[in-house]
Symmetry: C2
Subunit: 141 residues, 2 copies
DNA sequence: TTAAAAATTTAGACTATGTCTAATGTTAGA
DNA sequence: TCTAACATTAGACATAGTCTAAATTTTTAA
């Protein structure tokens, strides 16, 4: 993949591009499966076992803070992560909890009145239901 | 509040309206602060200490399954709950993690094409930013 | 080049949140 | 009133994630 681009994305983030951080970013950019921290830790260490559990968790937090990675909380399950590439919405499966990307489209903002003194940063659309794997096959049910 | 209405809401849910479950429902209907399970447990037992921790957690899960309560996952924080009264959207504070209700309005559904074989159940809009308490006071910054 | 400072990694202890088990209690309905 | 199904409980357990303190690596500045 584009190693240079990954390294460049760290510029101005306040974080160094260490081998451990690079591995996390590269993995997330190559896989849009929204892995959990545990899955990322395992995957990264399968290739080159030089990132500890603590480092993986710390780095994920740093990357989220730097705005390079997004964390997705799922009810009753471990958090999932994705590289903030193209804008997209999320579909979360009621049954298996998997997170999938859905084509992005503009979302109407709430009325200024109802926001009050709150400072709005982003509007996120989350779709729920059954993913392709979990949806019943035919018209049965 | 409307004790009868709370009891009636259990009809057809497959769950009995026990004192412990009633207490959870009543608390959630009187407070729209989106409390965590731990907060609900404490609050309910302050009034009448007859619900154990396990029961509170079990009942919250049951009530969510019955569709009477909604669970809101927040990144890096404990899950929060609210009674599914009027439809509304959620505002989640980046800084303190508090969840607030925002007036409901219709959300455009994604294109059928991009949904594929997925079965869509609901579209949820989540706003992020700083709540009134956490937003900077004046125009400073 | 090198010494000191800053940032990063690490193992493993620790914390928070939530689930499970097995025993006990309660309720609805025959 | 008896019984089967349902519900509650204490406390052990599981999972996900954080923290600490020491070691390592990188950067800065002389």
């Amino acid at each position: 993949m584009d190693a240079k681009a990954i390294k460049r994305s760290f510029d101005g983030s306040g974080f160094r591009c260490t081998p451990q951080r690079y591995a996390v970013m590269a993995f997330l950019m190559e896989h849009n499966s929204h892995p959990t921290a545990a899955e990322i830790f395992k995957a990264v260490n399968r290739v080159d076992p030089h990132s500890s559990r603590a480092t993986t968790y710390n780095n994920l937090r740093d990357l989220v803070q730097a705005g390079l990675v997004r964390e997705v909380a799922v009810e009753g399950r471990a958090a999932r992560f994705d590289a903030k590439g193209m804008r997209h919405h999320h579909f979360i499966c009621d049954r298996c909890g998997n997170v999938e990307d859905l084509e992005w489209y503009d979302v109407p903002r709430p009325a200024t009145r109802s926001l009050g003194k709150r400072m709005l940063r982003e509007c996120e659309l989350i779709f729920r239901g059954l993913c392709t794997k979990c949806a019943p096959r035919r018209t049965s049910r």
